[in-house]
Amino acid sequence: MKLFPVAVEWRAPRTLVAIVLVVGLFLLPLLAGDDNSFYVKFATRVLIYALAAIGLNFILGFGGLVSFGHAMYVMLGAYAVGIPVQHGITSGYLHVAIALASALLVSALVGAVALRTSGIAFIMITLAFAQMLFFGAVSLKEYGGDDGLTIATRSDFAFFDITNATALYYFAFVAVLLALYLSWRAVLSPFGLVLRGSKANARRAAALGHPVFRYQWVAYVLSAIVCAVAGVLLANLTQFASPSYGAWTLSGELIVIVILGGIGTVFGPVVGAVLLLALEESLPMLVEATLPDYKSNWMLLLGLFIFLVALLLKRGVFGSLRGGK
């Protein structure tokens, strides 16, 4: 098996941007200096959001199915750390296993129902299921309920100690690279071809004899699993799990990241996550510097920004760059 499924055009702007960004992210903790600095933690959050968006992009960008409820899988992943830790189970491998199993189960069920619909109904039914899980988490009184659950210790991955912020950063970095590579391979595989074909014209793909539903179902489950892993990492970063991780605003943010980066590109979600989180971090400072009275109202500008992205950016930032053939 070849490492690269297609010839990479090294000098295309997209490839260059991707390489610069990956190298930059790799070097970031070295430049930040201090082990537990604010920047390392912030950059870890960027990577985790990028990971979740890569997962979402799989169904949204390549499958053309707008899931408005993927935050629920992030939340599942976070609780897969929080609940076992409360019972004294700290093994990270077990956490990941629980996250994967629960995301697999939930997404298989949700996917089976939601994929019976398409278009607008799919958007809303995924949203409804996410709400259902959200309320489910709120009702977990013994695990903090509405207020969420503080996680006493980080997951214990035996040989990889992630108690230090930089170590956790590289852990997330590797996860993102892995997800990027897998998603790239999957998109170019026969499986990805049918998936993209069903996005372009589901009826034609079905007429060619492809069981479209089954392909979309598998893609939905895969994308949910990636989001659950992001949830495990997020819980480890914040040492906190709460229903707010499954809030529909986070599902919206993930969609924004995918679109902002460039829908239907493998690397777009990473670009989108960097841009959106940098914006969310800098807007409050910007507003505070110019209009101190309104510093808590910076979300107004974010809302306008998202609106304009939807209106004006058809292919996203990364998607507008020239790629390979």
Partner: protein, 309 residues
Amino acid sequence: MTYQLALSQLLNGLQLGVLLFLLAAGLTLVFGIMSFVNLAHGSLYMLGAYFGAAAFAKTESFTLAILAASLGAGAVGLLLDRFALTKLYTRDHLDQVLATFGLILFFNELIRIIWGPGSIFMQVPDALSQTVDIAGFVYPSYRFAIIGVGLLVALGLYLLIQKTRIGMLIRAGATHPHMVSSLGVNIKWLNTLVFALGAALAGLAGVMSGPIVSVQPGMGEPVLILTLVVIIIGGLGSIRGAFFAALIVGVVDTLGRAFMPTLMRSIFERNTADAAGPALASMLIYLLMALVLALKPQGLFPASAGATR
């Protein structure tokens, strides 16, 4: 005693149902006719509640509050349609979801800037602050009024859509927009009219629920999600479906919240029941939706072929 409780919960459910119908009617019409998904519909509801509360505080007239809320929300809807959303009607649903998601954040912050982050209090109008006593059964008259107004609006909408020329054009525009516009009807203005009408109904729902919920930034989102459930169950684009689904969802949700915990307690032991009861009650309508979609993916009352394409 228990039948009184059951009856008053049933009426509470109906009251929630007609409020949901006011919201769902606008949303489902806009979807059916323009194929536009408007997540900011909940923001129009919130704006209606604020406009109404402000007008009520100033004039102490509930009639004026209702007028301010529906006209105000209708005007915002008109402006949104003409200046912000026109370009999005021809785009795919993804862009529409994203843009209106941005608008929700925008409106929530705008409300916070103007009225502050806390919730504001709106009183039940004096004339309706009493209770009604029907053969020993006591129920607040304000809630009766909501049910009455909701049913009246539903009847009015039915007459408007089925019996008037405008309604005929709206129905025609939903299934055959090109044909209607080539017959010389300005379909853009027809769309604007529908959008503003939906916004005004959302504003009306907002001001009417003002005295019974807390008026605060973000109050539109939970309601929006319930409304989405309603229009999915009812069938996208179908007013009739929205009406029945709104009543079903209102009643199921209210009865579930009222009786599920007790019901659970009779089956499971207390601890399990106390934890699972409220959760199951909140999930009930989503389970209902999943069930409906599993059996009838188009909803209970699918709009006529072509409307949803």
